[in-house]
Amino acid sequence: MHCVGTKILTVEDDERIRLAVTLALEEEGWEVVEAETGERALDTFNATPTDVVLIDIMLPGIDGFEVCRSIRRNSDVPIIMVTARADTHDVVAGLEAGADDYLTKPFAPKELSARIRAMLRRTRANEPGDLERIKVGELEISPDEGLVLKDGEELHLTKTEFKLLVELASQPGKVFSREVLLERVWGYDYFGDGRLVDVHVRRLRTKVEADPASPRYVVTSRGLGYKLQP
């Protein structure tokens, strides 16, 4: 199985949940490292190479948002947040802190595995393929190398932001609906959460746009979706 050797860091303060989730994930074939607090999680993350991080936002001490922000400062590792509810601001706050995706508790470990696989697929999609370099304005995107240059300088995007940009850049000027982007970037079906797209677009803009408030590249097409302005 392709997930053998893939290391997942689970950050969860409830010992019983941590144990059960670890058991289930190991059953699915992943390698699991546990941390019960935010502090431990950061120490572990810095000491061990990790492929995916799973963070419960309700943590004593440093909360999940802060852990997420700390990791994001110098890593583009895929992060999945675990929130109590889908309709709270926690989701948006977590995504803004740098999470790539979220799950609501209680989730099925099978679903978590599917999310992890989708995420790793998009981080591994950048192997040599037939995608060519795309030039849009000052932006130069090379999907094969996983590189984005602006005015010749490399931009640091997370894997999800990169995948989103490549998706939009595959057909510059074409409007992509949220549903399409959710499916292609995150692997969701029709009922994926549109906020994933919205927040990632916003994050992407802070990196590629000179003025994120009035974007030049990643443009909203009201009521329809987003497009990359050629």
Binding site: D14, R16, I17, L19, A20, V21, L23, A24, E27, M58, A84, R85, A86, D87, V92, K105, P106, F107, A108, P109, K110, R178, D189, Y190, F191, D193, G194, R195, D198, V199, V201, R202, P212, A213, T220, R222, G223
Partner: protein
């Protein structure tokens, strides 16, 4: 609640009270004024006449002391006397030499006398009697005296027409004043009540806003001390209500968190068991399967209960987006792997878009479809059509339908048909489904109802009616 007639309103009652009060007061004052003036005017007139009358009485007495013998001469004396009597006030003298004889000046006769004075005068002696009376509509006043011997009496009539005219005018004026004061009182009362009641619309508007969930509503009446007390009490109440609601919401979210943790452990553990079920004995495999199914059911029930309590606390915020209904319904049916469920697209149905919370509307449709599959045998048909500003989504089954008297109750919590089966509702986890449907549709500003199928076949037809929400401004991107 019965509102009653206009007189039940505070404004009307205060106005009427003021009017009646001032009318009563001015009427009393007017009445007293009239009475005082009348007696004063009359006594003035009487005392004036009394002096003159006494002088005349003296004259009459003197003449009667020296009456001639000849009856013809006597008549001359009478005539002479009557002519001589001084009456500067316009009074008219009447001589009565005996109780049966009367000689008057200016056409007065004994007929002008009030009846009882002739009797009364017999009982007196040299005493002046005075009496007011009305003759032929004219107010009058008679002075009378019994001159003692031989039943001689002398009368004088005084017309009170002038005094009466004065009193009439006075009465008119006083009635006018009383009526005017009453009206003024009513006006004053209306104005006072209106100013006193002026804050009421603000208070009721604030109360309505609070009832609709706007707990930031405050009222301010700083200018008026009494009203400031009211507004403080009101704002305090709002604050207390808000705190209570927040406490309940906290409780809900605490409970939610408390329940989620063990459910998480259970879900993960059962999944491990399921993966390993092949290595388990048959009995254990069956047990794991039961466990897994009921865990899922339990989880859905918990989710539904939490969603309902959130809805009741008004804590649900819809995540609105605009999407095509046909595509949405196809995905609902496909996503849930519903078999025997057909979505009928109307002509040009692909052009119909709706603004709604996609996840919650999907839950509505899923619940209705599951309900239809459970209670209606065989196929489930989903159809939709735009009707004016609304969209109607119908879910039809081929079951026994819903009896007329159950059609309201079915949307209540655990209000399933045939709930005589006791806890079957809880057991199957569908008891909350339709009440959630009703609540979700309601917060979308729509309605849901159940009828018979309209094509004449057996079965229930659930119709969700939602506003298309074309003009709803969907927040495309949050706080850019």
């Amino acid at each position: 609640m019965e509102r009653g007639g206009w007189w039940r309103s505070l404004l009307a009652r205060v106005t009427i009270a003021y009017a009646v009060g001032s009318l009563l007061l001015t009427t009393t004052v007017a009445f007293a004024t009239f009475e005082l003036t009348q007696s004063r005017l009359l006594s003035d007139a009487q005392s004036q006449h009394l002096e003159q009358f006494k002088n005349n009485v003296t004259d009459v007495r003197l003449r009667f002391q020296a009456l001639p013998e000849d009856p013809e001469d006597i008549e001359l004396v009478y005539g002479d006397l009557l002519a001589q009597l001084s009456t500067p006030n316009g009074s008219q003298p009447l001589l009565s030499p005996s109780p049966e004889q009367f000689r008057g000046r200016g056409g007065v006769s004994e007929d002008d006398l009030p009846t009882n004075i002739r009797a009364r005068i017999q009982l007196t002696d040299l005493e002046v009697l005075q009496q007011r009376y009305t003759r032929n509509g004219e107010p009058r006043y008679v002075l009378a005296v019994n001159l003692g011997d031989q039943g001689v009496a002398y009368y004088e009539f005084v017309s009170l027409a002038d005094v009466d005219a004065t009193l009439q005018s006075l009465r008119l004026i006083l009635v006018g004043v009383a009526v005017g004061a009453g009206l003024l009182g009513a006006l004053l009362g209306w104005y006072a009540a209106r100013s006193a009641l002026a804050p009421l619309p603000r208070i009721s508007n604030a109360a309505l806003a609070i009832a609709e969930g706007d707990l930031d509503t405050k009222i301010e009446f700083q200018a008026d001390r009494d009203l400031a007390t009211l507004s403080e009490a009101f704002n305090y109440m709002v604050e207390a209500v808000r705190e209570r609601i927040e406490r309940e919401q906290r409780f809900t979210s605490d409970v939610s968190h408390e329940l989620r943790s063990p459910l998480m452990t259970l879900t993960a553990s059962v999944e491990v068991l399921e993966r390993r079920s092949e290595s388990l004995p048959d009995v254990a495999q069956q047990a794991v399967e039961l466990l897994s199914q009921d865990l899922e059911r339990f989880q859905r029930l918990v989710e539904d209960l939490l969603e309902i309590s959130r809805l009741e606390a008004g804590a649900v915020q819809l995540q609105l987006s605009r999407f095509r209904l046909a595509e949405f319904l196809d995905n609902v049916v496909r996503g849930e792997r519903h078999q025997n469920v057909v979505v009928h697209h109307p002509p040009r149905g692909d052009t119909i878009s709706i603004t709604a919370d996609k996840r919650r509307l999907a839950q509505v449709m899923t619940n209705l479809i599951q309900n239809a599959k459970k209670y209606g045998d065989g196929d489930v048909e989903v159809s939709f059509e735009a009707v004016g500003e609304d969209i109607h989504i119908a879910v039809e089954d081929s079951g026994p339908g819903v009896p007329f008297e159950q059609r309201e109750r079915i949307f209540e919590r655990f209000g399933r048909i045939g709930s005589s089966a006791g806890n079957r509702a809880i057991e199957t986890g569908f008891g909350l489904g339709l009440s959630l449907v009703a609540e979700h549709v309601r917060i979308h500003g729509g309605t849901v109802r159940v009828t018979d199928r309209i094509d004449g076949q057996h079965g229930a037809r659930f119709v969700v009616q939602l506003p298309l929400g074309e003009h709803v401004d969907v927040v495309e991107e949050m706080a850019e």
